[in-house]
Every structure is written in C-alpha cells, then in structure tokens.
C-alpha cells in the first residue's frame, strides 16, 4: 500500500510537515522535524529512483481520477534524478542550516523559517513529479512564493529589495508560463502532459500552439536564469541567507531547467520544438551564458555574487547540451544539472561559513582566511569541479558535453566549453587567492560564531559526493543516459 504512494509522499510529507513545524514551540524541535522529513524524503527518493531504473515509469493518479481529467504524477529516470537532487540538497542544506541560520535569524522566526523551507521543497518536488502542466504552475508558484519569503530573511536589508525584485521578475516569468499554458490549452484542450504530447501533432491551430510554446518556454527560461534572462539571479544569490543561497543555487534553477527539458522533448517533442533554428538558439544562448557569466564572475568583488555569475555560466553548459540534441549531449546536460547542483551548494556553504563572523561576503573582508585550512580544501574541491578538473563531478559533465560537441562537428562549441574552463580557473583562482594568499590588513581577529558541527558535516558530505560521483559515474551518468535515451526515443 505504502509503496504505491511513495511518489506522492515525496510531495505530501513536507506539505504536511510545514504547518506542524510552524506550530512547534522550540527551534530545535522545528529543525528536528524538518530534518526527519528530509531524511524520509531522501530515503523515498532513492527508493523510487531504484524502482524506475532501466526505463520503467511509475504512474500515480491523484485521488483515483484517471487522466486527462484527474491530475496524474509520473516518475521516470529523468525526474527521479531531479527528485533525488532536490531531496539530497534539502537534507544537506538542512544539516547546514541549523547553525548557519541561527546566526542570521532571530530565534522566534526560526519555526516559520523551517516551515517556509518545507514549502519550497514541496513546490520543487511537485514541479518535478507532476504530470499536469497547470498543476506544475501551481507548484512553481508555491515554491517561488516561499522562496521570496526566505530570501527576504537575509541578514542585510538589501535582502528585502532582492526579494522584492525577484518577486516581480519571478512572477513575470510565471505569468508568461501561464499565458503559454493557456494558449496550449486553447489549441489542444488538455493540460495533461502526456495527453498534450499526443495532441500536439493533430492540433488545427498551429499558430496558437506555437505562440503558447514560445510564451511557455521564455517564462521557464526566465525562471531558470538562462542567459539573456539571468539578470535577477545575482542579487538573489548574493543577499539570501547562506543556507538559502545554497539550497536555491542547487535546486531552483535546475528544476526550472528540468521543466524546459521535459516540455521540450517529452511534451512538444523533438520534431515540433527543435526546429534547427531553435536548437541553434539554445546553443548560442548557452555559449553566450558560458562566456558572459564567466567574464562577469571574474569581475566580481563579492564571493557570493561571483558564485552567482558562475552559476549563470554553468547553466549555460546544460543549455548547450540540450541544444545538441544527442544522447551524449543530453545526458551530459542532465548529469551536469546534478553535478553542478552539489558543487555549487558546497561552495555557497563554504561562503556562508566564511561569512559567519564578518556578516558579509565581500572578498576583501574575507581575506586572510588561513585560520581555516579545511575550508581551503572545500573551496579547492568545489573550485576544481567548476573548472572541470578530472576526479571531480565537473569533469564528467564537461567531458560528455565536449564529446557531444565533437560528435556533431561543432568545433566552435568545443572551444567555448574549454574556454569556459579556462575562464573558470580565473574566477576560482580569484577567490582562492584572496581568501588564502592575500594577508588581511589589518588582520581581523576571528571572533564571532564558529561553524557548527552540522555545517562541517554538510560540507564534508558534499565534498565527498563531488569526488565520489566524479570517480564513480555508474549511478549518476547511468540514470542520465537512461533519461536521455527515453527522451530522445533512442533504444540502446
């Protein structure tokens, strides 16, 4: 019985936990319940992913209503991987959040913080698992609204403005998505993804469908911060509470990009959506993102902002992989979503640990961090992964993407990918140098809160994951290849 409901439990658990957490009297209890939920979810996510390995899919009909009338949930390798990413990051970030967030947010608000956090996770998992496109919109808004609230809790007052800006631009993106859904509905009369997929070819209103397609995707690309639509991201990542930056950087843009992949390949289908021009557009946008993001990252003087721009660049890699439209490229893109997720989360956590004392992430204020040599290890691992150094996860994704670029004879793309790595060295070096080789003047005596054990544990876990999945790719790359084959309809 339970097994049948495992999929939906992933979404329902945090939704139920959220109000309970808000009501619990002490911050430790709230956190305890949150981490308990997260652990359960992680267990469930691993289980369902194991269930769908090898190409089967789980269908779940909400309330017993069969699609296209009822809402159905569908789980295959693709969203199984994403669900695992969200649950994993959620778990690790919660581990980290305890000590980190208590230094940033007054104690009476902590219950609400964890409750909101659960809502973000509910929304993200809902997006990942749902098979209904309007339901997806609702979850998108659930996660976005709770995200705005979390961002607004940042320690500096700029966080409020960042949250407000994100609210405006995020709603803009979601609205475009909604317009797109409406137009598609007008053309096909259905909201269920699979049903939609079967209707696409037969629609008698192709113009409406194309407009819907265009609106839907631009809205999603905005949520995913893909190159020309990335402008909202740096402020958000810079001013959020530390744990929230880590959570968002690893999940929210990734999940949005997942929706792009799902809609593009599964719903609209390769022939419909990826006429050559559109695929080339993705390649171009991705390449520009890689170059632009890396160059801007080099210019930054704030560690978290630098990481934010690097995120824009790294998302570009996934977009490039998507635009290549081959199994190699797509699996590279998908595995990069996962790989970059854990890498960036680790780096934001490191930044948060440095910021505990000074309360800012300005690089000049963080200089001379030699008193924490372990953090250097974290920054090195994460930084090397951003560069794409072999032995880290970053290498795996870039290797796949580079291979895919050569397969297609896109030499310029290979140059862009490698150039991106070289630029990454510069910005990675920039923060490592400032943090560890520039003596601070005057030397700041490191008082203030010391990173808690949970923070170290979380960082350690992610670092291990970066190296482990960099050396043993059977699991991550295997699932990504499965998903890519399914999406492109290629059978091994």
């Amino acid at each position: 019985m339970i097994e049948n409901h495992m999929t939906i439990m992933l979404v329902v658990l945090p939704m139920l936990a959220a109000p309970l957490i808000a009501l619990l009297p002490s911050k430790n209890l709230s956190w305890g319940l949150a981490i308990l939920t997260a652990t359960l979810q992680l267990y469930l996510a691993v289980n369902v992913l194991l269930d769908v390995q090898g190409g089967t899919a789980i269908h779940y009909e909400l309330g017993g209503w069969a699609p296209p009338w009822g809402i159905s949930y569908r789980l295959d390798s693709l969203n199984g991987l994403m669900a695992l990413l969200v649950c994993l990051i959620n778990f690790v970030c919660l581990l980290y959040a305890k000590a980190s967030i208590e230094a940033e947010i007054p104690g009476r608000k902590l219950g609400l913080f964890y409750a909101t956090w659960q809502l973000v996770v509910t929304g993200l998992l809902g997006i990942v698992l749902t098979g209904d496109i309007f339901n997806l919109f609702v979850f998108l808004e659930i996660s976005s609204l709770s995200t705005y609230a979390l961002i607004g809790m940042g320690r500096q007052r700029q966080a409020l403005m960042a949250a407000f800006q994100y609210l405006l631009s995020g709603t803009l993106g979601a609205s475009f998505f909604l317009i797109g859904v409406g137009l598609c509905y007008a053309a096909t009369g259905t909201l269920n993804m699979q049903d939609l997929a079967s209707q696409i070819g037969q629609s008698d209103q192709p113009m409406t469908l194309y407009s819907g397609f265009a609106f839907l995707f631009t809205g999603l690309l905005l949520k995913a911060a893909i190159y020309p639509l990335h402008a909202w991201l740096p402020n958000v990542y810079q001013f959020s509470p530390q744990a929230v930056s880590a959570l968002l950087s690893a999940t929210s843009t990734k999940v949005a990009l997942y929706v792009v992949v799902r809609c593009l390949l599964d719903v609209f289908g390769v022939e419909f959506s990826l006429s050559r021009l559109f695929a080339d557009l993705l390649l171009l946008a991705g390449s520009l993102a890689i170059l632009f993001g890396s160059l801007r990252a080099i210019q930054q003087t704030d560690l978290k902002r630098l990481l934010a721009y690097s995120s824009i660049a790294q998302l570009g890699y996934s977009v490039v992989g998507l635009g290549l439209l081959t199994v190699t490229g797509l699996s590279g893109a998908l595995v990069h979503l996962f790989n970059h997720g854990i890498t960036k989360a680790a780096l934001f956590m490191g930044a948060g640990m440095l910021a505990l004392g000074p309360g800012t992430t300005l690089l000049t204020r963080l200089a001379g961090g030699t008193h924490r040599p372990w953090l250097l290890l974290l920054f090195l691992t994460g930084g090397l992964s951003l560069i794409g150094f072999p032995g880290t996860v970053g290498f795996i994704s870039k290797w796949m993407l580079a291979l895919a670029a050569i397969e297609q004879g896109h030499w310029w793309l290979l140059v862009v990918i490698l150039l991106g790595s070289l630029l990454a060295i510069l910005y990675v070096w920039k923060f490592i140098e400032t943090l560890y080789f520039v003596p601070q003047n005057p030397p700041e005596t490191s008082t203030g809160p010391v990173p808690g054990r949970g923070m170290w544990l979380a960082c350690g876990l992610l670092c291990l994951a970066i190296v482990y999945f960099g050396l043993d790719t059977r699991f991550t790359l295997g699932v990504a290849m499965d998903a890519a084959r399914q999406l492109l309809g290629v059978h091994p």
Partner: protein, 563 residues
C-alpha cells in the same frame, strides 16, 4: 600481489594523512616525509612487471598502472628525486608546501604509469595544480603573479591534451597512450600540449618565469618533475618525429644567450634547464635506440645534477635571501661545502668526463652523428660549449667567487648539505660507472662513452670554452651582472596584451559617454535616475522583458509557419 597498485597512491595517501595529522602533531611530522618515497620505492621494486590497475569511469577504462622499462626508469628517478627533495626540504614547516610537493611527486608518478590519455590528462592537471602551490608558497607578490601565469599555461597545456584526447577518442574509439602521429588534429594537439610542458621555444616562458620565483626547495621539486614527465610523454608518444630534432636543436641554443645576460642565478639555471631539455628532445626526435636511451638517460642525469645546482642556489637563497648575481660573490669563504657541491653539479651539467652529464649527453651526440644531422650536431656542440659557459662557470663563479661583497652567511644547514651530497655522489657514481644507469635503459644498445676520442675532444672543448671565459673576463668584454629584466616571449602576454587591453578600454571610455547618451534617450521614459546599481528594478525588468521579447520572437520565427 598486495603491492600491485599504482605508486602515486602512496604519495596521495601520504598527502592526505599529512593534512589530517598535521593539526595533531604540528610540523614535527615533516621528519617522516623522506620515508614516503623510500617506502614507495620499495613497493615499486617488488611490483611485478605485468601488473596493471584500471578504473572504470563513465564507459571509459582508465589504466592507472602500466609497467614497462620506460615507465619504471622514470618511476625510479622520481622516487629518487622526491627523496632528495624531502631531505632537502626538512627545514620547511609550511603544510602547503609539503602537501603540494607530495601531491606533485605523486602526480608525476601517476603520469608516467598512465596507460591512457585520459589518465595522463588527469595527472597532467594534478601536476599543474599541485606544483603551482609550490610557487605560491613563496608568499610574495611577484610569486603570486608568476604563479597564476604558470598555472594558466599549465592548465592550457592540459586543456590541449584533453582536446587531443577527445578528438582521438572520437576518431579511433580508443584512448590508449602509445606512439602517435604528429600530423592530424589529435596528434597535433597532443604534441602541442606536451610541447608546452616541455618548454618548446616560444612556449617556454612559464618555466623561466615561475621556477625562480618559488621557494628554495620548491624550485628543486619543480625542476625535477614537470619537464621530465613531458620528455617521458614525448618519448612514448612521438619518438622518431623528425620535427622534434629541429625543435630540440633550437632549444639547446637560444636559452644560453639569455642565460649569459640573466642576473638572477636561479633564472640562469632555468634557462639552462631548457637547454638540457633541448638535448633530450633531439634524442626523442632521432628515435633510434641509442638516441632514445640517451634522451631518457640524460633526463635521469639532469634531474640529479640540475637538482644539485638548484639546491646549491637554494642554499644561497636560504642564507642570503636572494640569488642575484649582481649582489653576490665571495660566498666560498663561509660556505665552502656548498661551493664544492655546486662545482660538482656544474661539472656534471657541463658534461666533464667522469661526471654524469658526460655519459648521457654523449649518447645523444653520437646518435646525432649517426643520423647524419651534421649541422644540427654542430649546433648541439655549440650549445654544449655554451652550457659550460653559463651553467658550469657562471653559476659557481658569480655566486661563490667573483667580487667579494662582504657577505658572510653561515654554511648551508646539515640536511641541505646531506641532500646535496647525495646528489653529488650520484653524479659521480653515474659518471664513473655508467653501466649502472645503462642497465636500466629501456632500449637495447651497445655503447661505451669513455673512448679516447670522446674524452679528449670533450676536454678540449670545455677547457677552451673556459679559456674563452678567462680571456673575455680579462679583456673586460664579459658582460657584467646587472639588475634588470630581459624581454622574452612573455612580453607578449605580460606587456603587449595588457597594453592592448588598456587601449581597448580607453576606446571604450571614449565611446562610453556616447553609448550612455543613446541609452538614456531610449530608456528616458523609464529612468528616474542615471547610474546602474544593483537595485534598479526598472532596469532589471526591462532587461528581462527585452530578453523575453527576443526569445519569443525567435521562438515564433523558428516555427514551421515561417520556414
């Protein structure tokens, strides 16, 4: 059976333990470091010759242990170098340096035992990163600058290697690292990558830029591994590539001119390192058994005698604080042992009979004649005379003799002297009993260096080079040591490109007001204030809307309706 794992693991694990244990035991731990290469050498010796060890990575099999005579020779050499290096570095209490050195030595070993291009790339990049730690460890502004330039060039080499590997994989479906063709994209890229690490002409600048900026012991490690791994890779991948003979000949000749006018004695040694590499590259390019043996044997000898020279200059750096020829002199009075050891190193690099350089370099020279490259042989002969001139005489002369500047530093510390003595002993041992080294060489050959002709001609060449030095000095023609920098190919990226960038920037500055005016006209209805700060919501939304409009436009255009 237990011992059948790649030796680099010994060093990586040691690095990990050092990092873990150093907070507990403090710098005392460093006294254990020389044991690492010793124990690892033991493992290498009992390693069975057909051992192999591979790792599955994403449908690729990475071969981390391929044992043959060529890789074994370099394996022994690197263990030896690491041992000497850690003894020499016993005074260093800097965790960064120790860990970098361990990782660096381990990576070099990993590279020579790699059976495929991907593993080679892995260790290639590990070498780049770990070795740059040794440059940064000097903790000066110039070292940081040199370090980042070094790192970029090294990683660039790795990136080229990766591209080559990718192309080869795409074309042939295999990543195995064996003899390759230099024509074709894959081979070309890989050769270029090797060439950077091997300091080919015009690609050599990272070496003379960064090596002299490292710490006393750091330079020793640096000089031992990176370039020798490159020689190994060339010997394995591109033996017999004619192009390399010419490149090698140029490499032997051009650095000696720079070495004569260079002031920093460690930089002189860096130039002479390139010169020695030139001989090895020539040997690889010739590709005969004798030449290849000569190349790897010379690499072996070079690690030891160049190390010895760098160690003696390191001792000077350690005691005096700099190695500028213009400000040194007369050190033999208080550092007699270092002086003597330095002279042994100088004798070896100059290839005096009975010193190690002679028994290895003469193989390459003989192979050159056998191959009929008469003119290139003359160039190499010229370079040999030049080596003696700048490394054999100039280094000991300007540091330990020349004008007495009144410096009275203490003799080098005991552990340094011990490390240097070991190297000196090895130089003489190889020089006097070359068969010890010859027996280890990978290819079959029949060669004996000490015949009358070789010995006599070499002595004549060297003595009359020395005579020229004496004569030039007496005539006052010899260029004095001056505090200066000499332009080299790094001018391109250290001066020309920054200037270009500055120029472009000024163009931008010039046009900026115009652009801003246009912007403000377009955006006037929306702007309440000029200046783009982080919190201009209007700007943000405008940007987003513009992006949305463009994407929607293209999305619609791309539809079938318009096609």
């Amino acid at each position: 059976m237990m011992a059948e794992y790649p030796p680099f693991l010994n060093f990586y694990l040691a690095a990990l333990f050092y990092l873990l244990l150093s907070p507990l035991f403090g710098p005392r731990l460093r006294f254990l470091l020389p044991l690492v290469p010793l124990l690892s050498l033991g493992q290498l010796i009992i390693l069975s010759p057909d051992a192999s060890w591979s790792w599955q990575l994403a449908s690729l099999s990475m071969e981390w242990l391929r044992v043959d005579k060529l890789s074994l020779l370099f394996g022994y050499l690197f263990h030896l170098a690491a041992f000497i290096g850690f003894v020499y570095a016993l005074h260093v209490k800097d965790t960064l340096q120790q860990v970098s050195a361990l990782l660096y030595a381990g990576s070099a070993l990993g590279a020579v035992f790699s059976g495929d291009l991907l593993s080679l790339f892995l260790f290639w990049e590990m070498m780049a990163v770990s070795s740059s730690g040794l440059v940064f460890a000097r903790q000066t502004q110039t070292a940081r600058g040199a370090g980042i330039r070094y790192l970029i060039v090294q990683v660039l080499s790795g990136v080229l290697l990766l591209s080559g590997a990718l192309v080869q994989f795409q074309q042939t479906g295999t990543l195995r690292f064996d003899a390759m063709q230099a024509d074709g994209i894959a081979g070309g890229l890989i050769l270029f990558a090797f060439g950077i690490k091997c300091a080919f002409p015009l690609l050599h600048n990272w070496l003379v830029d960064a090596y002299p900026e490292s710490t006393a012991s750091g330079t020793l490690f640096l000089s031992a591994f990176t370039t020798k791994v490159a020689v190994y890779a060339l010997a394995r991948g591109f033996a017999g590539t004619e192009l390399l003979v010419y490149i090698g000949a140029i490499m032997t000749c051009f650095p000696i001119f720079y070495a004569v006018i260079e002031n920093d004695l460690r930089r002189v040694l860096a130039y002479s390192l390139i010169n020695q590499l030139g001989f090895m590259v020539c040997g690889v390019g010739l590709g005969t058994a004798l030449a290849l043996n000569g190349a790897v044997a010379h690499a072996f000898a070079d690690v030891i005698f160049k190390g010895l020279l760098f160690m003696s200059m390191g001792a000077v750096l350690h005691r005096v604080g700099h190695t500028l020829g213009s400000d040194l002199g007369g050190l033999h009075k208080t550092m007699p042992k270092s002086t003597l050891l330095c002279i042994i190193g100088a004798g070896s690099i100059s290839a005096f009979p009975l010193f190690s350089g002679f028994v290895t370099k003469s193989m390459i020279m003989s192979a050159m004649i056998e191959a009929g490259h008469d003119w290139l042989w003359l160039a190499l002969l010229f370079a040999s005379a030049g080596v003696f001139h700048h490394a054999g005489i100039k280094i000991p002369f300007f540091a330990f003799f020349a004008h007495d500047r009144g410096l009275r530093p203490k003799e080098a510390p005991v552990h340094m002297l011990f490390a240097m003595s070991m190297s000196a002993f090895l130089c003489l041992l190889i020089g006097m009993f070359p068969q010890l080294l010859y027996r280890l060489l990978p290819w079959q050959m029949n060669y004996w260096p000490y015949d009358l002709t070789h010995t006599l001609t070499q002595l004549q060449l060297l003595f009359f080079s020395a005579l020229a030095f004496v004569w030039l000095n007496k005539q006052g023609i010899y260029p004095p040591e001056l505090r200066s920098v000499n332009l080299d190919s790094d001018w391109l990226y250290r001066k020309y490109l920054p200037n270009m960038a500055r120029w472009l920037w000024s163009v931008r500055e010039f046009t900026q007001p115009g652009i801003a005016r246009v912007q403000s006209v377009i955006l006037r209805p929306f702007s309440h204030q000029s200046g783009l700060t982080a919190f201009d919501t209007s700007q943000l939304l405008l940007k987003l809307l513009l992006g949305l409009a463009i994407l929607i436009g293209i999305g619609l255009l791309s539809s079938d309706l318009f096609n």
